[in-house]
């Protein structure tokens, strides 16, 4: 780093950054300009800066792909609709309380499936709403009766889900993904399917909660975040075909998204 009088390279660049911005020529600016005029290192630095910026500007000239644009605006539209609905329903909720990571995980899936915008806040802050809701949830879960089937046969899973839920829900056949069973889940008072798969020995759960007339929503990746940083499981949610859906598992986000895409299609 060159020394030119009282100002070194780092201070001179800071004082004149970004170089194209108009600034009042006070003492510090004059000193910085004097330094840069005489400093070969700074001259080279600024020349490289112009090259890197030009390279980036050429990349920026490209537009975001239409697929991405559509998805972004689809997500905004979905969030706006759900925020309006949540605004009408949120009056009676209890204040947030802290819970164990396991409970947060279950509640986060429920919130993501059924609360949309509210679910995002769950994940951001690692809190859940309404202590009493879990007791009700557990009581109702026991009242459900036969609530699971252990099999790798998609036909058997489909028969079980159709019998229990009264609608046809089909287990998927995907390369590298093994079906291991299905359960009836109860999320915010609504019965749905939770189909279990395994990938390389790791379990993932596909939630399908019927929601006739619900708003279609694109895939949203929601890596679970707690106060201590990022930990599994990762969650991907979407809505369509008359159901809210989520995929939850301890996989890398990219891998979970790949499965979600395959399930959507």
């Amino acid at each position: 780093m060159a020394e030119r009088g009282p100002m070194d390279c780092s201070a001179a660049r800071r004082a004149l950054w970004p170089p194209e911005r108009l600034r009042i020529a006070d003492g510090a600016v004059l000193q910085a300009r004097a330094h840069i005029d005489e400093c070969a290192s700074c001259e080279q630095y600024l020349a490289q800066d112009r090259e890197i910026l030009a390279a980036y500007e050429r990349l920026r000239a490209e537009r975001a792909p239409r697929r991405v644009r559509e998805r972004v605006f689809d997500v905004i539209a979905g969030e706006r609709s759900e925020a309006l609905i949540a605004g009408r329903l949120s009056g009676g909720r209890s204040p947030p309380v802290r819970r164990s990571p396991w409970v947060i995980s279950v509640a986060a899936v429920a919130a993501l499936l059924l609360g949309g915008a509210w679910g995002g806040m769950f994940i951001q802050h690692g809190t859940v709403v309404g202590e009493e809701a879990l007791f009700v949830e557990d009581y109702l879960r026991r009242a459900v009766g036969q609530d699971h089937v252990e099999t790798s046969d998609p036909a058997e899973v489909s028969r079980f889900l159709t019998r229990e839920l009264g609608i046809a829900i089909t287990a998927a056949r995907l390369d590298g993904v093994r079906l291991s069973g299905a359960e009836i889940c109860l999320l915010d008072g609504r019965r749905g399917a939770m189909i279990r798969y395994e990938i390389d020995g790791r379990e993932i759960s596909h939630y399908v909660v019927p929601n006739a007339g619900g708003i279609a929503r694109s895939r949203v990746l929601a890596p679970r975040v707690t106060d201590s940083g990022l930990r599994g499981p990762t969650v991907v949610t979407w809505a369509g075909d008359g159901a809210e859906q989520a995929l939850v598992g301890e996989l890398e986000a990219a891998q979970l998204l790949g499965v979600a895409r395959a399930l959507e299609h």
């Binding site: 980036y56 050429r58 975001a64 972004v72 997500v75 905004i76 806040m121 890596p223 990219a254």
Partner: protein, 151 residues
């Protein structure tokens, strides 16, 4: 004049996507997920009136923070856009990517980048030393528009 979030997002989507691609080292899936995640959360923050100062910079700051807090910690494979600049970014640490994107390419001031990163005094200079990786590829290879960006 008050504006809808959709207007703001529409104006910034290309900038945010190119920033997202750069931060993600050219991984298209990662860039898309980061962008969607940021826009989704920004929608609610905007509705609460949490946007402060220049809203376009506020969105860039949110993208950078979401990258650092979440997406910079994930591993990605799969399709990548074949740009030397993206490949160079993929090889440097997440905080350095954010520093270089905001300071060098989005022309933020040193003070604003330091505020966002919240690190110790002097950390920014260390992060900016990774700039050499970028100038190397731009100087040697020359940079052309990304292939497949509209694909």
């Amino acid at each position: 004049m008050p504006q809808a979030f959709e207007e703001l997002a529409g104006r910034k989507i290309d900038d945010l996507f190119s920033g997202s691609l750069l931060l993600s080292g050219g991984h298209e899936d990662a860039a898309e997920e980061l962008l969607v995640w940021t826009v989704r959360r920004a929608f609610h923050a905007f509705a609460r009136g949490d946007s402060d100062g220049e809203v376009e910079r506020w969105l860039e700051a949110r993208l950078a923070r979401d990258f650092l807090e979440i997406f910079g910690r994930l591993g990605w494979d799969g399709d990548r856009i074949g740009s030397a600049l993206f490949r160079a970014m993929d090889r440097i640490p997440p905080r350095a990517r954010v520093a270089l994107w905001l300071l060098l390419l989005r022309r933020w001031s040193y003070a604003d980048v330091e505020d966002l990163l919240g690190g110790e005094r002097g950390e920014l200079e260390a992060l900016l030393s990774h700039r050499a990786s970028l100038s190397e590829v731009v100087g040697v290879v020359g940079e052309r528009p990304a292939e497949g960006m509209n694909g």
